[in-house]
Symmetry: C2
Subunit: 109 residues, 2 copies
């Protein structure tokens, strides 16, 4: 069976994790996984070509942000929330909060 | 006098800020500014060519992570800690903490 690479906690690198989170499509994927839990690649409604989407899933997985589980012909993806939060405490929660507060209040302009 | 672009709070974008923080050299600059406060470009001891360094300063400034102040022939750079923390609460503190904990404990391997 094919094995997909996932970094251990020690292999996770802060700049690599931040790079994985620095793209709006990848942030949309992370937000969806946070809200819905484990999802199959095909279930996520992200309107971009499959090949581009596969690239984004790979960047997320290889940085340690997500885990991909093969089940039959399906790829099931989940956030490695606890792993990331143990390795870089507070980074993922703050980013997820930032996604919720995406629209800045006009009063703070 | 030449004016350097700095985004307002409303113009700051999460993925752009995370991209600015996703490079090891830029993280080294951010760490140095956090530890030493405002610094002149020339005082920071980062062993890369000036042209490359200028590019990194620009990425940091245009994302909203740093402020550049011109004083005579000097460029003085500081972290926009409060601005960033008001726009994306917790992101910069968590990243700075992650830089301090860079070496992961062996016991967590």
């Amino acid at each position: 069976m094919r094995t997909l690479y996932h970094p251990s906690l020690n292999e996770m690198n802060l700049s690599t994790v931040l790079y994985a989170l620095s793209d709006q499509i990848r942030l949309d994927i992370v937000k969806s996984l946070d809200e819905n839990g484990e999802e199959s690649c095909s279930a996520m409604e992200i309107p971009i070509p499959n090949s581009t989407l596969s690239h984004h899933y790979k960047v997320l997985r290889e940085s340690g942000v997500t885990r991909t589980r093969l089940e039959g012909t399906q790829r099931l993806i989940s956030l490695r929330y606890d792993d990331l939060n143990s390795r870089f405490p507070g980074v993922l929660p703050a980013v997820l909060q930032g996604l919720k507060n995406k629209k800045s209040p006009k009063s703070n302009a």
